[in-house]
């Protein structure tokens, strides 16, 4: 008996607790993201003067289960003309990379998988890799609409990633750290949305582009490209792209909250509740964007990205840096 107990040294226990936390966060993220399918359908319905799916269980909450059962039952067909290994790999990359980015998001004090001192850079790196899922998926499909989608995804990624990183730099300069934990700690008094308002607007626009959601769903523009990069996908492979998109909405909302809305900070309620509330609010905002706004042409998006957003982001970095340096000199 004591031989077994001897195995549980403090280090092993710490590792086990870390693993349990990781699994809990993973499950909560996936379930919350799958639940987004229902939330989106309900909210889109309400905003279009309908009720949306309200039949299955309470408020139609079981619609997700019905949808999942349906998509699992579907034939997972791989067309004969595709590049098979890459075609199979692409949805896996989409899932894995979006989930991986959650590792650095602090949910509550002590509730995160890892506190990297280069958390922001890690996040940007993983986000760039997740764009490969769309590009490879579009390329491996060997059909013109999928290819158009992939090419557009690449063009879009080049446009938004630059000013996305720069928009985050304002926050990084103010907090003086790349670590998400330090950034959240630094927002104890004042959320960064106030001093970094321009950065917030720029970052929000970049996150919409990064999730490939309307109005910036240019790589999967239904009206132009059938379904864009996932035209040839069916069954659970399509389902993985689908869920990855919702996971990336959850991720981006969590990130906006962490960087600009004080993460877990808030009065009265426990930190986890505050974090989830704020994140949920931003997830609803993503749906509102889809319900309300029309899609720009992709040359318009690239033009605004390079000619408007990038100079503004640079200006933001310059002014923030100047003020921080001037304050430090005092």
């Amino acid at each position: 008996m004591s031989a077994i107990a001897a195995w549980f040294t403090p280090e092993v226990i710490a590792v086990l607790i870390g693993m349990v936390k990781a699994v809990v966060i993973l499950l909560v993220v996936i379930i919350a993201s799958a639940w987004m399918i229902w939330v989106e359908r309900r909210l889109l319905g309400l905003w279009q003067d309908r009720w949306g799916p309200n039949r299955v269980w309470w408020l139609g909450i079981g619609q997700v289960v019905a949808d999942m059962v349906k998509i699992f039952m579907k034939e997972d067909w791989i067309p004969k003309f595709v590049d098979k290994p890459v075609f199979i790999l692409a949805p896996a990359i989409a899932m894995v990379m979006t989930l991986l980015a959650f590792a650095v998001i602090p949910i509550a004090p002590g509730w995160r998988i890892i506190d990297l001192n280069v958390g922001v850079l890690f996040f940007l790196a993983v986000l760039s890799l997740s764009a490969y899922a769309v590009m490879l998926g579009g390329w491996a499909s060997n059909s013109k609409y999928a290819l158009f989608g992939g090419v557009r995804a690449a063009a879009q990624m080049l446009s938004y990633e630059v000013f996305m990183g720069l928009a985050m730099m304002g926050v990084v300069i103010q907090a003086g750290s790349f670590s998400f934990d330090t950034i959240v700690e630094a927002q104890t008094g004042l959320w960064y949305v106030v001093p970094q308002f321009l950065g917030f607007i720029l970052f929000l626009l970049a996150t919409i582009a990064a999730t490939h959601r309307a109005p910036f769903d240019i790589p999967e523009a239904e009206q132009e490209l059938t379904a864009g990069f996932h035209t040839e996908y069916s069954g659970m492979k399509f389902g993985m792209f689908f869920v990855a998109e919702y996971i990336s909405i959850t991720l981006m909302s969590a990130l906006v909250v962490t960087l600009f809305f004080g993460g877990w900070h808030g009065p009265l309620l426990p930190p986890v509740v505050w974090f989830c509330l704020k994140t949920g609010l931003f997830m609803c905002f993503f749906i509102l964007l889809r319900a309300a706004l029309a899609r720009p042409r992709y040359d318009q998006f690239m033009e605004s990205g390079w000619k408007v957003m990038l100079p503004l982001a640079l200006l933001n970095v310059l002014v923030t840096g100047g003020i921080v340096v001037a304050l430090a000199a005092h």
Binding site: W47, D49, R50, W51, A292, L293, V308
Partner: protein, 182 residues
């Protein structure tokens, strides 16, 4: 300068759009929650088909076959029979296949005796397809349907037992063709 103005106006207009769509949250919803909330159906809605009776309680259908002839999908079939006691025609059997019926209402328009009528009942759903085939006992109701006073044999010139030629409502006596008198 002009460009900056354009960008700001575009930004503002998008914000207004977002607010307008958000405000739809508490607008009236067009959806009717069907099983709990029944939609209003006008009395002349074309749903499940019935066979009606005349005010005296006899069935109106005279088995003329016009409904079966006019039916564009051929879902009506019937067999004529004659009542021995008064010579009235009636369908021996009458069958409508509702899994074929398109509810066009042509049968009701064609019917000379207002026997076949469409009702505002649309809730026809069966687990077994064969149950969609309605026989006469399923179709025939005990009431008069939409036309309460109409009785074909009382107004038509057709002679049956107890009602010879010329005895119908507003019907002149038959002309005696063998007489020269005007």
């Amino acid at each position: 300068m002009n460009d900056i103005k354009r960008i700001l106006i575009g930004f503002w207009s998008n914000l207004v759009t977002l607010w307008l769509i958000f405000a739809h949250l508490w607008r009236h919803k067009d959806t009717v929650n069907y099983p709990e909330e029944m939609p209003y159906l006008p009395p002349r809605y074309r749903g499940r088909i019935i066979l009606t009776r005349d005010p005296d309680g006899d069935e109106r259908c005279v088995a003329c076959n016009l409904c079966a002839a006019v039916c564009p999908v051929g879902c009506i079939s019937l067999q004529k029979a004659e009542r021995p006691e008064d010579g009235r025609w009636y369908p021996e059997w009458f069958r409508i296949n509702f899994s074929r019926c398109i509810y066009c209402g042509f049968c009701e328009e064609a019917c000379p005796t207002a026997a076949i009528q469409l009702t505002p009942d649309f809730e026809l759903a069966e687990y077994d397809r064969q149950n969609m085939v309605y026989e006469k006992e399923h179709l025939l109701i005990s009431g008069t349907g939409k036309y309460h006073d109409y009785n074909f044999y009382r107004v038509a010139g057709m002679s049956i037992a107890g009602k010879p030629k010329g005895a119908a409502e507003s019907e002149a006596q038959p002309i005696d063709v063998k007489s020269l008198l005007p």
